[in-house]
């Protein structure tokens, strides 16, 4: 009995150690392939079932994202002026918005193929860029890059860059505008209102 427990414990330990050591490019590839495989088989998602794809993203993708860092990047220097509570609220709302955007991009996925570029990285690096390319018939390949940072809990994505456009810093001017008009609370309210209207639309 004891032996079995120890063996189990040990197996679990090895497995989690292996996960922690998984290199960022391998992580990106594993998660991408996983998600795309599911989408390819799921008719509901292909027909635009937003809730189903959001569930999928929640389960498979979100654990590998650092939304606090993403939100801080989008807010820029106003981030430090925000109270911890505001930071937390904004992070929550921004996360909802980004997940919906990302999920919708995934439902449009058909006939594409993802190619992974070799990773340039030293073993001591804690911040890397993983480059991929999305190929589709009749169009130019689209560059899709992920910025990852090494945290204690493993590698986490803190930016997604599509064709050179950072999904995170693309919000910087819009966020600054909202903060100028109504402070950080005004910004939180705007993002929350946006999320509500998207939710209402998807129920129709």
């Amino acid at each position: 009995m004891m032996k079995k427990l120890i063996a189990l414990f040990f197996a679990g330990f090895v497995a989690s150690a292996a996960c922690a050591q998984e290199s960022p490019d391998v992580l990106v590839q594993r998660v991408t392939d996983d998600v795309l495989e599911i989408i390819r088989k799921d008719r509901d998602i292909q027909n635009g079932d937003t809730h189903k794809v959001i569930d999928l993203v929640d389960k498979k993708v979100l654990p590998h994202f650092n939304f606090t860092h993403m939100t801080a990047l989008a807010l820029g220097k106003d981030w430090r002026k925000a109270t911890p509570q505001q930071q937390q609220q904004l992070t929550g709302e921004f996360k909802t918005l980004l997940v919906r955007t990302y999920a919708n991009a995934l439902t449009g996925y058909k006939n594409q193929r993802v190619v992974y570029k070799p990773l340039k990285m030293a073993s001591a690096d804690t911040d890397v860029l993983v480059r991929t390319e999305v190929l589709q018939p009749g169009s130019k390949p689209v560059q899709l890059d992920y910025s990852l940072e090494k945290l204690e809990s493993g590698w986490k994505v803190y930016d997604v860059v599509v064709a050179g456009i950072s999904l995170v810093t693309n919000y910087r001017d819009q966020f600054a505008q909202e903060v100028r008009n109504g402070g950080v609370d005004g910004l939180i309210a705007s993002v929350a209102a946006k999320n509500k209207s998207l939710e209402a639309n998807s129920k129709k």
Binding site: T101, G164, D173, E178
Partner: protein
């Protein structure tokens, strides 16, 4: 999605554009807080005009095309216009001193025009000769020409002053513009415009849902994307 495709290459349009540019340069700049968008007032009204044109003309036509044309037809149309565009891409690679790239562009043109049956099939990509992403606006940037202010034009969309000039020059170098009779030229230009607009349909919903302010979202995406293109996909990191 080569830049000047946006245009359907209407010469009259860019004459208008150049005229407006001059008018802009003469009018006093908008006293706005965003230094990256000095003509924001003008741009926002042009953006509104374009939204109407897109909603009632360009987008519905692109949607019909997207629904009716089977994938091989769409792929062939994309390949054909891509092949026509490779010539100007090659010239711009050379103008930027990237002669190896220019050789690849020329090789692509030769292979796809022959083996690829007038460019309907992108055989060169299958052979590992990837299409580059160059235009005259990028060449000007590489030459050190300043971007000038950001502008939003109806139909041809977002481009700064430098890219507007690049676009105008690009239409003169566009082989489609020299096709005769004129009716065939116009049909080709229209098909290309619809093809490009259709290829942007999937991103419509994303922008619509993601943006707090659609105008600003598109502007900032344009600025980031062009910077990325100018540095051939490897822009130096900006400080946060």
């Amino acid at each position: 999605m080569t830049d000047y495709y946006w245009a359907s290459g209407l010469r009259r349009a860019h004459r208008l554009v150049l005229g407006a540019l001059v008018a802009l340069a003469c009018s006093s700049a908008w006293a706005d807080e965003n230094p990256r968008d000095p003509y924001e007032g003008f741009n926002r009204s042009m953006f509104a005009v374009n939204e109407v044109i897109d909603k009632y003309a360009a987008k519905p036509v692109a949607q019909v095309y997207d629904n009716v044309a089977p994938l091989p037809v769409k792929a062939s149309a994309g390949n054909f216009f891509g092949n026509v565009g490779d010539l100007w891409i090659g010239v711009n690679s050379a103008l930027q001193g990237k002669f190896g790239d220019a050789g690849v562009d020329l090789g692509r043109l030769l292979i796809n025009s022959t083996v690829g049956i007038f460019g309907l099939f992108d055989v060169a990509s299958e052979l590992g000769l990837e299409r580059h992403d160059e235009d005259f606006g990028q060449t000007l940037a590489v030459w050190g020409v300043d971007g000038g202010g950001y502008l939003f034009w109806p139909v041809i969309g977002p481009r700064n002053v430098r890219d507007t000039v690049g676009f105008a020059v690009g239409t003169y170098a566009d082989p489609v513009m020299y096709v005769r009779p004129v009716s065939v030229r116009n049909s080709m230009a229209a098909l290309r415009f619809v093809d490009v607009r259709a290829s942007l349909l999937p991103s419509d919903k994303v922008v619509e849902e993601a943006a707090l302010d659609k105008y600003a979202y598109i502007r900032d995406a344009y600025l980031q994307r062009r910077r990325n293109q100018i540095f051939d996909g490897r822009p130096p990191r900006l400080d946060d």
